[in-house]
């Protein structure tokens, strides 16, 4: 219930923000932060709750983006309908990849590698295929209107990405309080024990990757609508996969608000380093990287760990509590 109220607050606060500021820098930063946030939220469902660490989430991002562009350019589909189609295609692709890799019991680094490989294969395929515009990429014709999902101001795009984020948050909240979520976390923590309790790990992971892929696909669609351009490196490049996972890891894996926190913090960090250290090319990346290492080293539970360790009451060690109970 508390989380639901926070989601409402999150939605209302960011929906109103564009009406209080006209600063292009702030609005742009907010939009990019929300965009990164959606990707982290998507990665978190599979990686955080399911423990299946994907290094190739760009696969779903790029597929969503290309589908969104291709449906509009080649088939003249309305962008809103294209969004629905693109999200479904990403989701199906996620399911297929999940089925193939989980069917053969790939976990841990092997799963990470196969996702990476798939993203790379798709990048190369899109570089050489004509339907994706090969190396030239695809350009979306400019035609600003709500019906075309092209807004004349940043505000429209912010509302769009915000609503996608709210959907992602609601899905994650539902996951936290559902049987699927409980099973998913059980499989993450111990697959054999979960099996012994009647959990079918393949099915659970299959659903998780499908949901995760659909949200990542939505992020891809958003990207195309904002920048009106997509090429193989933007679509399937490793930087997209990395920003999806880094946000979730820095913020706190397997939590509802961790990815939000992580994505916003990283966006803030990268724009600060860019603005203050911009005259020394490359130094901003050094600072960014060092801070990232520091966060991962000193906050293994992510930024969200700061909040819970501040708020939590001192815990008794398990032993004492159990022993007193055993005597009874």
């Amino acid at each position: 219930m508390r989380d639901f109220r926070l989601i409402v607050l999150f939605a209302v606060a960011f929906a109103c923000l564009p009406f209080f500021t006209h600063s292009g820098v702030i609005l742009n930063a907010l939009m990019m932060a929300l965009f990164a946030c959606l990707m982290s939220q998507s990665w978190n469902i599979l990686g955080g709750f399911g423990g299946q660490l994907s290094f190739g989430h760009a696969l779903f991002f790029g597929t969503g983006a290309y589908a969104q562009a291709i449906f509009q350019i080649q088939y003249g589909v309305n962008p809103w309908a294209a969004l629905a189609l693109a999200v479904s295609i990403s989701s199906i692709l996620g399911g297929v990849l999940g089925w193939i890799s989980f069917r053969y019991g790939l976990r841990g680094s092997y799963f990470a590698l196969i996702t990476l490989a798939f993203a790379e294969v798709f990048r190369i395929l899109s570089l050489s295929s004509s339907i994706t515009g090969a190396g030239v990429g695809l350009m979306l014709p400019l035609s600003e209107s709500i019906g075309n999902m092209q807004f004349s101001s940043k505000t429209g795009f912010i509302e769009l990405i915000l609503s996608m984020n709210v959907i992602a948050l609601l899905i994650t909240l539902w996951l936290k309080n559902s049987r699927l979520g409980a099973y998913l976390q059980a499989v993450r923590d111990n697959e054999d024990a979960a099996k012994a309790l009647g959990v079918n790990p393949l099915k659970v992971k299959f659903f998780a990757i499908s949901i995760s892929a659909s949200l990542m696909g939505a992020a891809g669609c958003f990207y195309v609508q904002v920048f009106q351009y997509i090429d193989p490196n933007l679509a399937y490049g490793a930087h997209t996969s990395v920003s999806a996972l880094v946000g979730a890891i820095v913020g706190g894996m397997g939590t509802l608000w961790g990815p939000v926190l992580g994505a916003f913090a990283l966006e803030l960090l990268s724009s600060l380093t860019r603005n203050f250290l911009g005259e020394l090319p490359g130094i901003n990346m050094v600072v960014y990287g060092s801070l990232l290492i520091a966060i991962i080293m000193f906050l293994p539970k992510g930024l969200i760990g700061l909040f819970s360790s501040l708020g939590a009451k001192p815990q008794t060690r398990g032993g004492i509590a159990v022993d007193s109970k055993l005597k009874s």
């Binding site: 024990a193 979960a194 099996k195 309790l197 398990g318 005597k327």
Partner: protein, 251 residues
């Protein structure tokens, strides 16, 4: 009625014949124990019954239905749940969440599952630590958690793999009534146990496994007198020596 019927199962790992032609039938509502020296194949045998290891030969029946080809989770749905010798808690989750995973087998609502979990945890004596992280529990606590989680699936047959191992004598004393209570509530239990005190006081029937083969079975006090069993534990010729020693003492 036979709840569990294992017929002639064998499995080898490479050249090692871990289980060879073992048959076992457990009556409904009883508590049976499987004993044997280390490396006898007890845990492998449990893994065959619970579906984690596929037997090369033989079959497993639960309540008259052949379950040999079923996956572990399908067996759990059919009413057969196991615990693990090396406890496998979902360490990052609370005790309640751990148990709720088991409870979810028969109810999809989270609220209901948690309520059911609360019931089961208090039943095994863990109610005070419902919200504690499973990773923080002591061995005794983890063993109870393992038990609670399995019980939450409402099994017909519970396979307990050394739930008493690693506990101190006091903790064992506390645990015995819990196992007895489980059996009294109508759940059939098959347990692997090294703690003979538990076997003697709880088990209604005992099977002895040694080097992958069933060497003896029967009532607890009969089986423990079996020379074959004594020798399996203490080495060849020991039964004779003990007998001679006893005669000397008597004369």
């Amino acid at each position: 009625m036979k709840l569990l019927n294992v017929e002639d199962v064998s499995v080898s790992f490479g050249g090692l014949k871990a289980v060879q032609g073992v048959s076992l039938a457990l009556e409904e509502g009883t508590l049976g124990a499987l004993i044997g020296p280390n490396g006898a194949g007890k845990t492998t045998f449990f893994s065959i019954i619970s579906g984690f290891v596929k037997p090369d030969l033989g079959r497993v029946q639960l309540a008259g239905k052949d379950i040999t080809a079923l996956t572990p989770y399908a067996r759990a749905e059919a009413g057969l749940t196991r615990t693990f010798q090396i406890v496998q808690p979902f360490a990052a989750q609370t005790v309640g969440e751990n148990v709720a995973v088991g409870a979810h087998l028969h109810c999809s609502s989270r609220k209901e599952a948690l309520a059911k979990a609360r019931e089961v945890t208090s039943w095994v004596g863990l109610s005070g630590i419902f919200d504690q992280k499973a990773g923080e529990l002591t061995v005794a606590g983890r063993k109870r958690l393992e038990l609670a989680r399995a019980l939450a699936t409402r099994p017909k047959l519970l396979l307990l793999d050394e739930v008493l191992a690693g506990l101190n004598p006091q903790e064992i004393q506390d645990m015995l009534p819990v196992i007895q209570k489980i059996c009294d509530s109508g759940v059939s239990v098959l347990m692997i146990e090294h703690v003979m005190q538990a076997v003697m006081s709880l088990a209604q029937y005992v099977w002895v496994l040694s080097q992958g083969q069933l060497i003896s079975q029967g009532l607890p006090h009969v089986v423990t007198q079996d020379p074959l069993v004594i020798e399996a534990y203490l080495g060849q010729g020991t039964a004779q020596k003990i007998k001679r020693f006893a005669q000397k003492e008597a004369s």
